[in-house]
Amino acid sequence: MINFILLILIYTGIYALMAIGQNLITGYVGLLSLTQAGFFAIGSYVTAILSVTYGIDFWITVPIAGILAALFGVVIGLPTLRLSGDYLAIATLGFGEIVRNILNNWDSLTNGPMGIQRIPMITVFGMKISPYAKWGFLVVVWLFVLVAFVLFERLANSRMGRALEAVREDEIAASSMGINATRYKVWAFALGAGIAGVAGSLQSTFILSVTPGVFTFMVSIMVLCMVVLGGMGNFAAVILGAFIIQFISYFPQLVGLSNIIPPQFKQILFGLILVTMMIWRPQGILGRKTRGEPAIFKRRGGKK
């Protein structure tokens, strides 16, 4: 039982990273993109391939996974960011499926549908962080979440964060204020992709194997649900969203009803959550962070 809760918390952490990225893209810049599964997959495979085939340490594969996913973000972002709303969602959804197809078929690199097994565990100062013991892994994952939270929260309160929100609110007005809207959209896309890549690295060392089947578009939908449910434009809220969605998706197993409740139940439920939230509480459970002086500045005291 406790193991199961730890499992949910670990997945919450991994998905929270993706949700933080999605929040930058959707909550801040207002772009409805459905790419996180694709970048998650890229990150996972980078760590899997580098550590299994080339024996490179996990900690070195993480930045590589993040940067490579971010580069893919730029490559995907440049052509698609001209699209708006639903069109962007459809185009980006296609990207995730393309990635999965490539992983399935590029046998020499990815080992096709069989995937890659025997991924080495993370080591910290020579100590193995076994995913079976869970506690250690939980700490590692949540340290990542903490760092990402601080970095992204800070970004959101910087002049770049304000520019991103301006672009969301009114792109034409923003560009008339000297803001290069396209540049900022691509940056947001790259950063959101990069953090999903890092989440992928963690995922592969948690499962100790990767297979293309994991990275379906449901992953992107789940991440979007987390953001919408928690509250767009609020990093703490999307972490809460990540927990709720993970909890819901493991609930049947938690109460031992997994053989009665079919897995499709999740998908229906996520769809329902998205629709209900959009209609009844579009701002999410916690809502957008309040305006005025950013809380992280107030806490540090400072002048005034």
Partner: protein, 259 residues
């Protein structure tokens, strides 16, 4: 001295020629009025000078440099700011943040460091950057008497204040030329009165003002020079006195008398 001019600027939307071979000039330090009946092409001319629209033919020069096909953010950075006929505020941001966005590229530019270094610095010293921008933005709110609304959401501001906030945001980009598209639209007489003063104060800051306006009292009162468009064509320009007595202008506004 002429700071901005268009040469035979034409903008056609399919068969509709919204602006037709217009030679429009803006002189440094003056308040220039741009008037004309509804649909005369005033907003279209603005859009074509500020990079939001591209002329079908003709050119735009700013301080002698051609800016015809430059994008909006480039043109803003060169020193041309604007407001919109249908107010375009960042509605879900606070009043203060709207102005802070106006300060965006000024605070990002550091001639000594280059853009990337400046961007990284603004991230590392996010608090310092915030305070500095905050302070500058508050100055602009004070200029417009909007300080008390600083933390309100822009969308909650009364209408007249929204127009003022849009001007404040544009001024925050530190422009040489400020384009105002119907700043008095929807204002009551006393708000219009105070707007007139504000526009004069803006001129006194050394900003060249170009305004589209239907309120003739305002236009005749504060403009140093007026250009009149009708059906996309530039039919007259001159001092308010000259415009008031111009036959073609009177015809345009009152309609040609049938023979």
């Amino acid at each position: 001295m002429i700071v901005l001019e268009t040469k035979k600027l034409t903008r056609a939307y399919g068969g509709v020629v919204a602006v037709s071979e217009v030679d429009f000039q803006v002189k440094d330090g003056l308040i220039t009025g741009l008037i004309g009946p509804n649909g005369a092409g005033k907003t279209t001319l603005f859009n074509n000078m500020t990079g939001l629209d591209t002329p079908t033919s003709g050119q735009v020069f700013y301080n002698g440099e051609e800016i015809t096909n430059k994008s909006a953010h480039r043109i803003c950075r060169l020193g041309i700011a604007r407001t919109f006929q249908n107010i375009r505020l960042f509605k879900e941001l606070s009043v203060l943040e709207n102005v802070m966005v106006g300060l965006h590229f000024k605070t990002g530019k550091d001639p000594l460091k280059g853009r990337l270094k400046a961007a990284v610095d603004s991230y590392l010293h996010v608090r310092t950057e915030y305070d500095a921008t905050h302070e500058k933005a508050m100055k602009w709110l004070e200029f417009f008497g909007l300080s008390e609304f600083a933390d309100e959401l822009a969308r909650n501001l009364p209408y007249g204040h929204q127009r003022e906030l849009e001007i404040a945001r544009a001024l925050a980009t530190d422009p040489q030329i400020l384009f105002l598209d119907e700043p008095a639209a929807g204002m009551n007489p006393s708000e219009t009165e105070s707007l007139m003063n504000t526009i004069r104060r803006i001129r006194d800051l050394g900003v060249t003002v170009v305004l589209i306006e239907h309120d003739m009292k305002l236009v005749m009162n504060i403009c140093d020079t007026i250009t009149v468009l009708n059906y996309g064509r530039n039919i007259a320009q001159g001092t308010p006195e000259e415009i008031r007595n111009n036959e073609q202008v009177i015809e345009a506004y009152l309609g040609k008398e049938e023979e």
